[in-house]
């Protein structure tokens, strides 16, 4: 760049060179580095939350109190839920989206790179505030991650830990809204020429819907935190029935955020599965438009179902929330069937990323089916707030999120680093994870049906012991599987097989650039004429696919 004659002070020239180092990461505005920061931070929080989960399982292995007292136990499971749901699950997909979305749509960066950096730092500082509550007098909040008022008001929980919890999560919420504005704008306005909305890869769609949900669901969360904070510290009475407040108000606003949050977590994962399955089936995604429709149907319905978490309050109109919740099964079913349709008559290989996808489909199926049970109010009366619900949402959250996340890690690790993760260790990881996970949570269905309530440190019914012990053993096996993954990461990043630009014969644009991509993402970009630009590029000389270059409006083969 010719800058010698400029009247302005010279700017650093070498800013696009790879420098590494801590200063680089502190000042970066590169979406790829910010994505990496998101992924590492959220994975660290996942490990912390996992340790807390193991503590919970140790305590529950036998009746009575062995490992910790009731207060510690309440703090441990509260922080487990808080870390996992607010600080890990919703953020790891933001990290992946940050890294991959600009690459998938052929952009050089996100729309607002500096604001992107700011939303990461807000997320980190918010998380640190929540974690700092471990070190204040009275310890962290012990009110469950839902923090129902009035239990979370000053009258019933005095400690500063609760205030730090609210403030930290409010800051993370602001980070989420800022990041959502950024990513939605990026996807709407930064797509390269030819990349119409209905040619963007499914992962980008997943991130788009996920960020739109954040945009509409986080404001109610911030509102309810503000109300709770005012009630705790400035003498407001929103949730106090003796002065005209209403405890049910808290549940309404919280769950108006809380149910979309489930889909905030799971929709990018659907996107990952929809990217990985076609690549390893060597076929295009079956029913692309139906998949996009399903995303939006799930997202829209998720705003109409919040009170199915409140069936047991007796204060909500049951049929409305029942039918809306049941209907979510339809678009979810479309997704599962379309994945099967993608594999059908394909040419399937089974590297770890694909194994994780298969694990995801089976496990998520169980989670989804038990969700149908919970959408029915009478059944919900029986099993709500028992271990049945715990098992159900771990099948969705752990099952869905972690399988999809690991599939994404195995799939895109070569793009991030230029090295392949070890397949041998990957298989061990998958097998231990699949076994450990199912052993842990399947037996919680049974003990939940038998009536074991959630969030108890101690139980007095001896016949619940067996299931709990099996569950604890499974939890430790799951822990081992995560250790195998970490081991795999360190081994592969040092001595992994070089991946090349496109190790999997991928479909979307990130596979045409180098691994890892340059600072400005692309040296050259192919033209986009379908939802598989990298595939078209790879087959540009193949006469069988020549039509995809000459006829942009060609009729797709729809069987």
């Amino acid at each position: 760049m010719a800058t010698t004659e400029l009247p302005l002070p010279a700017l650093p020239e070498a800013h696009h060179e790879e420098r590494g180092g801590i200063v680089d990461y502190l000042t970066t505005v590169d979406h790829k580095k910010i994505g990496i920061l998101y992924i590492f931070t959220s994975f660290g929080i996942f490990l912390a939350g996992g340790v807390l989960a193991l503590l919970v399982r140790m305590e529950l292995a036998e009746p009575g109190l062995q490992v910790m007292g009731e207060n510690t136990y309440n703090q441990v499971f509260t922080m487990h839920g808080t870390l996992m749901i607010f600080l890990f699950a919703a953020q790891v997909s933001t990290g992946l989206g940050n890294y991959l979305v600009p690459l998938q749509i052929g952009a050089a960066d996100v729309a607002f790179p500096r604001a992107n950096a700011m939303s990461y730092w807000l997320y980190l500082f918010g998380a640190l505030i929540v974690l700092s509550s471990f070190f204040v007098a009275g310890g962290p909040a012990a009110v469950a991650w839902t923090a129902y008022a009035p239990l979370s008001t000053r009258e019933f929980f005095q400690g500063t830990g609760m205030d730090l919890w609210i403030i930290g999560l409010a800051v993370v919420g602001v980070a989420g809204i800022l990041g959502a504005v950024n990513l939605v704008t990026t996807i709407f306005r930064m797509r390269m020429p030819g990349m119409t909305m209905f040619r963007t890869p499914l992962f980008t769609w997943g991130v788009l819907v996920n960020q739109l949900l954040i945009l509409f669901a986080f404001p109610p969360l911030t509102v309810v935190f503000a109300l709770l904070f005012l009630e705790r510290n400035f003498g407001a009475h929103f949730f106090d029935p003796t002065t005209g407040g209403s405890p049910i108000l808290y549940q309404h606003i919280f769950w108006f955020f809380g149910h979309p949050e489930v889909y905030i977590i799971i929709l990018p994962i659907f996107g990952i599965i929809s990217e990985v399955v076609p690549v390893f089936s060597r076929k295009p995604l079956f029913g692309y438009r139906a998949m996009v429709f399903a995303f939006f149907a799930i997202a829209a319905l998720s705003f109409g179902v919040w009170a199915h978490h409140m069936f047991a309050t007796g204060l909500v109109y049951l049929p409305y929330f029942s039918i809306m919740s049941l209907l979510i099964a339809v678009p979810t079913g479309i997704k599962v069937f379309n994945w099967v349709g993608t594999m059908w008559r394909g040419s399937i290989t089974l590297p770890t990323a694909m194994l994780m996808c298969l694990g995801f489909i089976v496990v998520f199926l169980i989670g989804g089916i038990t969700g149908i049970f919970l959408a029915s109010p009478p059944i919900d009366f029986a099993v709500n707030d028992t271990y049945y619900v715990v098992a159900h949402f771990h099948y969705i959250m752990v099952g869905g999120l972690l399988y999809g996340m690991f599939a994404g890690f195995y799939f895109w690790f070569p793009k991030f680093t230029g090295k392949l993760l070890s397949e041998r260790l990957g298989r061990w990881h998958f097998v231990t994870f699949f076994l450990g996970f199912n052993i842990t949570f399947f037996f919680q269905f049974l003990v939940g049906l038998d009536g074991m309530p959630r969030r108890i440190a101690d139980y007095e019914i001896p016949r619940w012991t067996t299931a709990n012990q099996i569950s604890t053993a499974g939890a430790f096996l799951t822990g081992v599987s995560v250790l195998i993954f970490i081991w795999n990461f360190f081994v592969s990043i040092r001595r992994g097989t070089p991946a090349g630009d496109d190790p999997w014969e991928g479909n979307s644009l990130e596979w045409v650039t180098t691994s890892p991509p340059p600072h400005h993402n692309f040296h050259h970009l192919p033209e986009v004429h379908s939802e598989r630009p990298a595939f078209d590029w790879r087959h540009r000389d193949d006469p069988a696919f020549a039509s995809s270059h000459t006829d942009p409006e060609r009729n797709l083969d729809r069987g």
Binding site: I167, R189, P193, R540
Partner: protein
């Protein structure tokens, strides 16, 4: 109507319909308000997109033109160098510490709500300082970018930026020459 606006308007319609149905089924005001707001928010964003598209006219702008527009460079500029590296590095922002500082200020401000007014003032001060530094950096880079785009003559050897040909020559064996 663009796909983007269509998506937002459909979500908006869902919000309004669900809100109205919910009201007549339950007469519960909180959920009704929330659902109607869900209708209003995306609807507003969708209408903005439609209106903006009418202003702008067609959508057929190339990435280079779009990047220049986003960076505040007038679209009438002669096309710059054709390779993406020069294009992108002309508009990508430089590394900066101000987002970190602003986030820190914001966090301190919020923590002050628990621990006292002095932290609020400290946080506000840091936030203001960071915002000032941030805007100054943006301003400097924008002026720099404009001058650079103006001073650098188009390189005739590299070919035009927005490739006028609608489709690349598929028979061309050299991938680099058909890439933009």
């Amino acid at each position: 109507m663009t796909d983007e606006a269509g998506i937002l308007l459909r979500v908006s319609i869902f919000g309004f319909v669900a809100g109205i149905v919910y009201w007549f089924l339950s007469y519960e005001w909180l959920g009704t308000v929330a659902l109607l707001l869900l209708g209003a928010g995306p609807g507003f964003a969708g209408l903005i997109l439609i209106q903006e598209q009418r202003h702008r006219g067609g959508t057929g702008e190339s990435r280079a033109v779009a990047m220049r527009r986003l960076a505040g460079i007038p679209p009438a500029d002669p096309p710059g160098p054709s390779d993406l590296e020069a294009e992108d590095l002309g508009v990508l922002p430089l590394p900066t510490i101000w987002p970190l500082a602003a986030a820190l200020g914001f966090t301190i401000l919020f923590t002050g709500l628990i621990y006292g007014l002095w932290l609020v003032i400290l946080g506000l001060g840091l936030l203001g300082y960071a915002a000032w530094g941030w805007l100054a950096a943006v301003n400097r880079e924008n002026r720099y970018g404009r001058l650079e785009a103006g001073t650098e003559p188009p390189s005739p050897a590299a070919g035009p930026v927005g490739d006028p040909r609608p489709h690349p020559d598929t028979a061309n064996p050299d991938p680099e020459s058909s890439a933009r």
